[in-house]
Structure formats: C-alpha cells, structure tokens
Symmetry: C2
Subunit: 459 residues, 2 copies
C-alpha cells in the first residue's frame, strides 16, 4: 500500500514578512530585511517545522512604485539580500530544508543561472530550487537598459527557451563522468561529457557547464505564472507551482487546468506539486488569532495601503478612501493577473478603497485564514483533499514571529491528523517532495540499448 499523501509546505521568507506593516510589528526587528541573523532564524524555524522549503521572492530592482509619493518610504519593500548569495550562506546553518531562490529569465543569461543553481545544489547537498520568473515591472526593466518590461508573450517565449537551455546545461556531465584516477591521470571520461550546442531563437549556448551534475540530478524548478503562458510553462517544465487563489473553486479550476496540460509533455500529474499561497494567522482561540491580525492591520497607513494598490490599479489617492474602488484607467492596469484578482475582490465584497487595501495588506491577494490551529488545518485539508492543492506556500504576516506561530501551533495539528511528516523523509529536497530522480538522458539511452540487446539475445 502506498504511503498516504502528505501536505507539502514551503514558506516565503522574503524580508520582514508578507504583511505590509510586518516590519512595524512590536516584536519585529525593524531592520531584519538586511540582517543575516534574521534570515538564519527564519530558515532554522522552517527546518524545525520540517518544511519542504524556504523560498526567497526577488526583484531585480525595487518592485514597489513610490505612488502616491511617500508610499515606498513607508514600507520595508526597499532593500534585501540577493537570494542566491543568501541561500548558500543559509545552506551552512541548515541541513534538510529546501532553499528556493527566484531568478529572472528576462534579465539573465542561462549559463549564469545554470551555474549558480548547480553550485547551490552542490553546496547544500541537494536542496536547491529555482523559482522561474519573467519580471513584470517596468522598474526592473529600467535597471537593464529598457524603458519598460517587454510584452508578456515575449517574456514567456524567452523563459521557455531559457529553461530548456538551463536544463540542457545541467546535463553536461553524467553522474559518473568524473573518474579522477590519479594513477592514469584521467580526470573524467570524455564519453560522459555532453556539449549542448544550443541554437535557438533567443540563445546560442555551447556548453558544457563547468559544474558537475548535482546531488538532485538537477535543482527543483518552481513556476508562479498565473496566465495561460505561465501555466503552460509550468505544465511543461516545473516541479512545483505557486498559485494565488481565494476560493476552493478557483483553486480547483487552476489545479485541474494546470495538471490537465501536463499530458501533452508526457508528464504525470504527480510530477508537479501545486502549492497555493496561504497566510495563516493562528491563535489559541479565534479571538486571539483575530487580535493578532488586528495588531498589524492597525499599523497599515493610508499612504502605504494606497501604494500597495497603485502597483496594480494605478494611483487612487485622489478618490475618497471610504468610497467605492473606481474602474482603473486601462493605462494603469499592469500586465499582471494580480490586478484582476484585486478588482474581483473589491466587486465581490463591495469594498471601499480603504477596505480593499486593508484586505490585501496581508496576503496580497492570497488566501487568508485567521483562526485556531484546527481552523487552519481544516482550511488546508479542505483544499488538499478537495482537489485544490498538493501543499501550501506559507506567507507569514511578519518574520520570524508569524512563522514561529504556525510551526508551533499548526504543524502539530497537521501531524496529529496524519497530514504532515513527523521527520524528513530524505536528504534532498527532491526526496522530500517525493519527486523522481531525473535519470541522465545518455545514461537512460544506454540502459535502453542494453535492455534491447538483452531482449533480442533472449529471443
């Protein structure tokens, strides 16, 4: 009998947490987004909670518009560590938790990305994951010679080829290519290095990669695109997908849609783990949980709240905060599915501007559950057993406290229900996620040829 399916959990450990006012929490270290010890504590907490992985979101530039003026300086969304340098440091103070870094395919070169993630995978003993993003903001584009982000279609075209090249480079060396025979002086077997010679619409990359095949065969690939192209890329290449759904109906539709696309790439549904974001705020009672949430909500200033909206819906500061959310100027609608989610939230709940920014100040459009550990476990179980999720990406309100509360209160409840591991199953992220070892294609081909030979010999 197969072991019962378990909930996978990751945590988004960016900066001071997901809540707009997280850095102002009374117990927060207000400068934590640039404190190494803060990041160490968060990652070790994730490992204490037996989480599959700790994930660093990233932008190649500040991604929060200073609109209306003063918005940016009233948030902590300004500076942070660069993810790959931070994660390799964190690899040294953890031993099991997966380490996921975001890297953009729009402003990078595949050779660099292949190397860096391969290097992190070696350093961490097989715990590296790459969150593939295409960088949607104009602010990022302006740090790379452009006036604005290229159209989404072009970005995803490039992304698809980019991932293909990176995966190809990760197969430069077979697992047993390095002989390192001091006596003969032969360092590697020349038959087991594969020169990629990629020539495509976006890239010409020769190879081989100057890093050996990695402990996971290759790092884990994560995708978070919500659009049609994003889903397609995920179905074709990702091991994990992050999503943002508010209702089980949305989650299920998304889940079925993405998993349904996999067959055309010859993949099984269980090869891709779908992990919607969830902001869980636990308390011993519902009242305590609600009080915890309110501590942060009361710290959301209008300028910051308007700023959070402006990034997706344009500047609303000329409107009455307590009036309805106006139809945004199409020119302000960013090429981004999140804006649509926000507008739907406003329409569905008939929200004022203030109510809308308060309702996204926490989860930024992700699902929120404020309640007892049992409430939160129920909420997870509903989606997990209801065909909406293979696991969840925790979005703590603030760090480290918001994560510590989940680890201390919710994880034990999930374990009690048999929904969550009580020890790491394996050594690598791939093993813990229950994903198959990616056999090197050349080794697979040799194995197949041998099997055929044996088969024909037997006839």
């Amino acid at each position: 009998m197969a072991a019962p399916r378990k909930i996978r959990l990751g945590v988004s450990m960016i900066g001071m947490g997901y809540h707009l006012a997280g850095w102002r929490h009374p117990d927060a270290s207000a400068g934590g987004n640039m404190e190494l010890q803060h990041a160490v504590r968060v990652t070790q907490t994730a490992e204490r909670g037996l989480l599959d992985m700790a994930f660093l979101a990233d932008g190649v530039g500040i991604r929060f518009n200073d609109v209306p003026a003063g918005a940016l300086s009233h948030t902590s969304k300004n500076v942070q560590f660069e993810p790959l340098t931070l994660l390799s440091a964190l690899a040294m103070v953890t031993s099991h938790v997966g380490l996921a870094a975001t890297a953009s395919t729009t402003y990078n070169e595949p050779y660099h990305i292949a190397r860096k993630f391969a290097s992190l995978d070696h350093i961490s003993g097989g715990r590296a994951a790459w969150n593939v993003v295409t960088s949607a903001t104009d602010m990022e584009a302006q740090n790379f010679g452009l006036v604005g982000a290229p159209p989404k279609t072009g970005r995803y075209d490039r992304a698809a080829e980019f991932v293909e090249v990176v995966k190809g480079l990760w197969e430069s060396w077979e697992d047993d290519a390095f002989i390192r025979d001091k006596a003969s002086g032969l360092n590697y077997d020349p038959a087991k290095v594969h020169v990629l010679n990629h020539e495509g619409a976006h890239f010409r990359v020769k190879g081989p990669l100057n890093v050996a095949r990695t402990p996971q065969g290759r790092p884990i690939i994560i995708q978070a695109g919500a659009s049609d192209q994003g889903r397609e890329l995920a179905a074709a290449t990702a091991d994990v997908i992050y999503a943002a759904s508010q209702t089980i109906e949305d989650a299920r539709a998304y889940y079925d849609d993405v998993k349904g696309r996999m067959a055309r790439y010859g993949r099984e549904p269980e090869h891709l783990k779908i992990m919607p974001g969830i902001m869980a705020v636990p308390g011993r009672t519902r009242q305590e949980a609600q009080d915890r949430y309110e501590v942060l909500q009361e710290l959301v200033q209008p300028v910051a709240g308007l700023g959070a909206l402006a990034n997706y819906l344009g500047d609303l500061s000329a409107y009455d905060l307590d009036g309805p959310v106006p139809e945004p100027d199409p020119a302000d609608r960013r090429d981004h599915s999140r804006g649509t989610i926000f507008l739907e939230m406003a329409r569905r709940g008939n929200l004022t501007i203030r109510q809308l920014y308060l309702s996204i100040a926490g989860g930024n459009g992700h699902r929120m559950v404020v309640g007892t550990p049992a409430d939160i476990a129920d909420a997870m179980e509903e989606w997990f057993h209801g065909g909406g999720a293979d696991g969840f990406n925790l979005l703590p309100t603030w760090l480290p406290g918001g994560l510590e509360e989940v680890v201390e209160m919710v994880i034990p409840e999930l374990q009690r229900r048999g929904l969550y591991r009580t020890a790491y199953e394996g050594r690598t992220l791939r093993e813990n996620l229950g994903l198959a070892w990616p056999e090197h294609p050349a080794a697979a081909a040799r194995r197949a040829a041998l099997a055929q030979q044996l088969g024909s010999a037997a006839q």
Copy 2:
C-alpha cells in the same frame, strides 16, 4: 610614528591548486574541486594564516582548450563551484579573512553584479572583494551567443563603464538612510536615497540598488589586467591589483607604471595594493622543498603540459617535445599577455617544449620560489622593500597541503621579521588592507557645505 608597512597576503584557492598536476598529489582529495569541505578547509587555513583574503579565480565556461585532444580530461580544470555562491557559504565558517570572487564584465549586467557583491559584503560583515575581469577566451564567449571573445579594446571600454555603474549603484543609499521608525512608519529618509540614472555608451541603468550600503562602504575592487588598458582601469578604480612578474625588474617596472598612472585620477599610490602572484614551495631544507616540488613535476603528463601551452601558443604536439619552442602561428597567439611571457621564458632560458611546459606547469608564468622559509621570506622581502610589491597573491601548488605548508612555515618567519601581522587589525577586509573608508559623496558634500558655512560664519 606610522606603523611599519606590512606585507599583504592573499591566496588563490581555485580548485585543486595552481599546479597542473595538483589533483594527482598523493595527499590530495582528487575530487576536491567539487567538495565543499575542501573549500572550507582551505579558507579556514587562510584565516589561520591571517591572510588578507582568499580569492576565487573564475571563468564563465571551461577555459582550458582540449588541444591536443585529451588534454582537458587529463587536468582538473573542468568543474568548480560558482564563486559568489561558494564565498557566501564560506563567509559562514570564517570571520576575518577577505573573500574575493571573480566576475566578468563582458557577460554580466552591472545591476546583478552590484547586488551580489553588496549582498556578500553584508553576509560576510564587510569582507567582499570583486576581481574585475573581461573574459579573454573564446570558449567563454560561446556560452553567451558569440563565436569568439570581443576585441580587447571593446571589452575594456565596457569594463570601465561597468565598474563606474556598479560603484554608482553601491552609492544608492547613504549609510544612515534607513531610519526604520516603527512609530512614525517611516522606513527610510527619502533624501538619502540616490537614483543613479546612468546613461552611457554601454549601459542605461536607473537604480537605486535594492541593497543597503555595505559594511565596507563598498566591496573591495581587484584588477588583474596586464595590458595598457588593464593597468589604466586598475589605476582609475582598483584597490588591489594582481600581477604576474618573473623578475624584480619586471615587477618594479610594473609597480611604478601602475602607481604612476594614479595621479591623473586624483589617487594616492597607497590607495592601490599591488600583489604579484607567487608560488612558494617551502621545505625545512632546500632539498626537502625541491623534493616536494618534484613530486608534482613528475606527475605532469605530456598531453596535459602541451594543453597548458596550447592555450597561449597553439598546438605544439606535432613538434619534438625535446626540441626548441617554435615561433607560434600568429593565428594561435591569443589576445593575452601571458603568451608573451611564456615565449620570453622560453627564449631567455633556451627551453625545449618539455622544459617550457614543465616550467609553467606550476606557476603558469608567475614567480616561483622553492626553498626554506627563510629563502621564501627573503624573496618576498626583496620585492616588498625593493619597490616591486605591496604584498603577494599566493598560488599554492596543491590544496590544501601547499597552502598549509606556507601558513605553517613561511608566515611565522615573516612575523619574526616584523613583516607580517600577528593578529587581524580590523573586522573588515578594507580595514585589514589599510584602505580608507569611502565616504558617501552626498554625505561628503553635506559635510563640505557645513564646513564652508561655519567658515563664513567665523569670518
């Protein structure tokens, strides 16, 4: 009275050491170039020796031609960690030694490089250094869409602007920009963030950087270019320069030339530390040292030796190994000053092909000293007091042993002579190198304005 000038020491800790046969040393871990514990041990040895820094050379691709066929597979110059990911891991297991990574200006974007080194500087508490290179090989170019490396002039033009942009980005935030006042909700002072808005021949970069100003003000900049343009770039922007000289006359000429170029950039000679490479092989007796060296020399196979030459002088495998070094085909002469050095060595010593590859198998054109600790200290002192060096970049034959021998035998001798520190002077690499704090230009301007005001008020 000023403290007496001390010798600065760094170590090149790439892979298995500098000697072509280092990985075949009887005591070497033959796969050390992909073993984290190997790198940890080397860096901790460097710190035990109170070295200023541990340096990772790098190529964005394999930089060793497989010419003649089989040459590459008979060396260990194939795979390695990516430097920035490795150094941030090593930052966690060391506390004082500087951490220098090579990064190419030809195949990178300044925004990424500024971020990554700033991040490493924060992670390491002020120990990051960037070795600026322009990537001379065609093999690297072919991993980035090109057929061959762009001409050197173009590479250095881009490098000069690249360094300017990176330095500008490092000044995005003043040291005291982050107020992080929970009460008022003001996270930073908007007057203390500076948007770069760079527009140049090669780059258009807006900024600001999404990393705070770093513990060293900015990371240390290292240059290793030997050509006219390389020297000029170093004189204009570098804190440290690596060099490759064989004789004190060469070293002195180089030293005077580079330091002489600094005035036109308003810099003092002591703002740039010149550190020629040195391969030091110590023994308790000269015989022991020579024996140690011979252990490695005997392990150099002709195919590997010819390979090392082919990278600079073309394929010589059709010639008699024990005959003279032929005049290379101009088509094979790479756009690289090292080839010239090798030819001069051959002509000066009237060397056969075998003798030439044996004489570069160790130091690859750098100075070599095989002898007692006193011999090695004498050799260093001669250049240090003779106007040829501010310090040295140690090139161990093999790792970790070749470095351990220097740390255990040569460092005490230098200390006995008062030429070397007995404890780290400071917390940051900048402090240990004795380099001045780079005041933020905006802060400096405010200070100057205030001084003028006070001056005119006093009149």
